[in-house]
Symmetry: C2
Subunit: 326 residues, 2 copies
């Protein structure tokens, strides 16, 4: 396996957009470990410098994906792009509709155009399981029914997917599209585990919960996520490669709260906002069918509970997160 | 039927984007006939003033959907939006990728944001059967498998669909999304009938044909198209209403050429470019399942051949088209 992976990345020049972010910085670590030369392009709006200690083979560029010239400059000489920069704040997508479109779609268009200009052809992209909307089939396979988008976040991701595939067809690009469940683990600084952790630090006696606590979703540890992406890129070499990415297990919000409160040693009174959905457009049940990815030999090696606990461990050990995010 | 339709449109103030275009101008005619007050917003880049003779109840605004202020000004006091403005030049989508995104997606975002600002909730939108990519099921139903986008044109349309549905979920909009086959009939000034007509006017002795002549697609007469949209808006009142729109019949390119050459009285030598597809991303077979729309009582009343012949009749009678488009 190691030999095979090295054959893909050894000496490759890889651009990681959003490389200072949660998943991006783990991808950077893995790429450097596989002897790739890595350029990170990140605007540091949500990413952290602490996630990117200086190392040989790592070049960090601060710049916005909304500036075509910045993207083009970073693209020069690149062999492969991990396009992971995104506005991932699905819960608040209705507050700033244009932000999702700009950061998830226009940014992607700028990346694709810079690739076209420089003759870069290979791109891996972080989409989302949210593109399935409220799926009628659970676990949801990649070939599920044409979905109705229920959030501007997911709409912007499905739009970006469309751009990738149409560039693959029209310009001979090769695209790997990963539809993620929520990812957990060290360096995760948003999502429900972070939100609960932050609320409980401020007031361990009570916890407000969006929805009724019965939403049930799959999550995946970031290391398993990165392994999945690297397995797919090494082994799936079609012009368009679309993979669901998630755990076969899932976790109810109430179960997650039990893990979080136990780990933090607190016993809050729970106040439920009520309703089947955490927010407008939230899917009450998320479980993806990952048969396609498992056929390549990948499987998650950590439980969801490990993901929750390691996220909390990271947050407790990282005062720079609290300093910025409160 | 007439009574029912009148109850929907009588006294309504309707904005038609792209109202100077092919389908838009027919929608304007129908709305004025149903006693609506109509505002057209069009940049006249592809639309024609000749399609919009001045009439009582018609207000024509020249402006770009890419200028939020223009869209917002036109949206004031509106009850219902037909958003039909688009870059429909699918064949050339790879020459100007950004044009599709701007004119089909950013324009749509601007329309939705102007609606939100003014409290306008109802929008009908012209999407495309191209969103199904190369469909595995033919005739293709609305709930077909999650497709892979094969053209930037279709990617921009599926992106716009996603925006409409996510605004419906998030902001209480009501959306009618129509996935059209190619529409034919008077005022059609692009597409294969127009292209063939123009080539044959310049040289009736030979005709270059994209692909191998065996592409087989459904088409629909513009009057049947408009009737379908008005039937759906009058009768389907869910927050999100998605309808395929096409003829149960389809036509091979070679059959279409036979109709065109017979009608024009020419006998060109045919030169095929070859290949199953007319262009990168073209779907060789397009036939949509319109069961959903037929359940509302709609059915096409004209043959595809009538659509071809009437398109040619219009082109022959409209010297202003040749003056602009050659």
């Amino acid at each position: 396996m190691t030999t095979e992976v090295e054959s893909v990345w050894l000496g490759k020049r890889v651009l990681v957009t959003g490389g200072a972010g949660f998943i991006g910085s783990h991808v950077v670590d893995r790429l450097l470990g596989e002897s790739a030369a890595v350029t990170v392009l990140d605007d540091f709006s949500t990413g952290f410098r602490e996630f990117l200690p200086p190392r040989a083979g790592l070049n960090v560029v601060e710049g916005s994906l909304l500036h075509p010239a910045s993207v083009s400059a970073a693209m020069r000489g690149i062999d492969f792009v991990f396009h992971l920069a995104a506005n991932a704040d699905v819960k608040n997508n209705l507050k700033e509709p244009l932000k999702c479109i700009e950061q998830n779609l226009i940014a992607t268009q700028n990346v694709l155009e810079a690739m076209r200009a420089w003759g870069v052809r290979d791109i891996a992209f972080s989409s989302t399981g949210s593109v399935y909307g409220e799926a009628t089939i659970v676990p949801t396979p990649e070939h599920a029914s044409f979905p109705v988008q229920t959030s501007i976040y997911a709409a912007s991701k499905v739009a970006a997917e469309g751009l990738l595939t149409s560039y693959a067809v029209g310009f001979g690009f090769r695209a790997w599209i990963f539809r993620f469940v929520s990812i957990l683990g060290p360096r995760y600084t948003h999502g429900h585990v972070f939100d609960f952790w932050r609320k409980l630090r401020h007031d361990p006696t009570q916890l407000e919960v969006l929805g009724n606590g019965k939403q049930k979703k799959s999550y995946l540890h970031v290391q398993d996520c990165v392994s999945a992406m690297f397995t797919a890129v090494a082994q799936a070499r079609s012009p368009i490669n679309i993979f669901n990415l998630g755990h076969h297990d899932w976790l109810e919000v109430d179960e997650s709260i039990a893990i979080i409160t136990r780990t933090m040693g607190v016993s809050p009174r729970l106040a439920y906002a009520g309703g089947e959905r955490g927010w407008a457009g939230d899917a009450p049940r998320v479980l993806l069918d990952t048969t396609r990815l498992r056929a390549l030999g990948w499987a998650p090696r950590r439980t969801i509970e490990q993901g929750v606990v390691e996220t909390l461990g990271f947050l407790g050990d990282s005062p720079f997160v609290s300093r910025r995010l409160g």
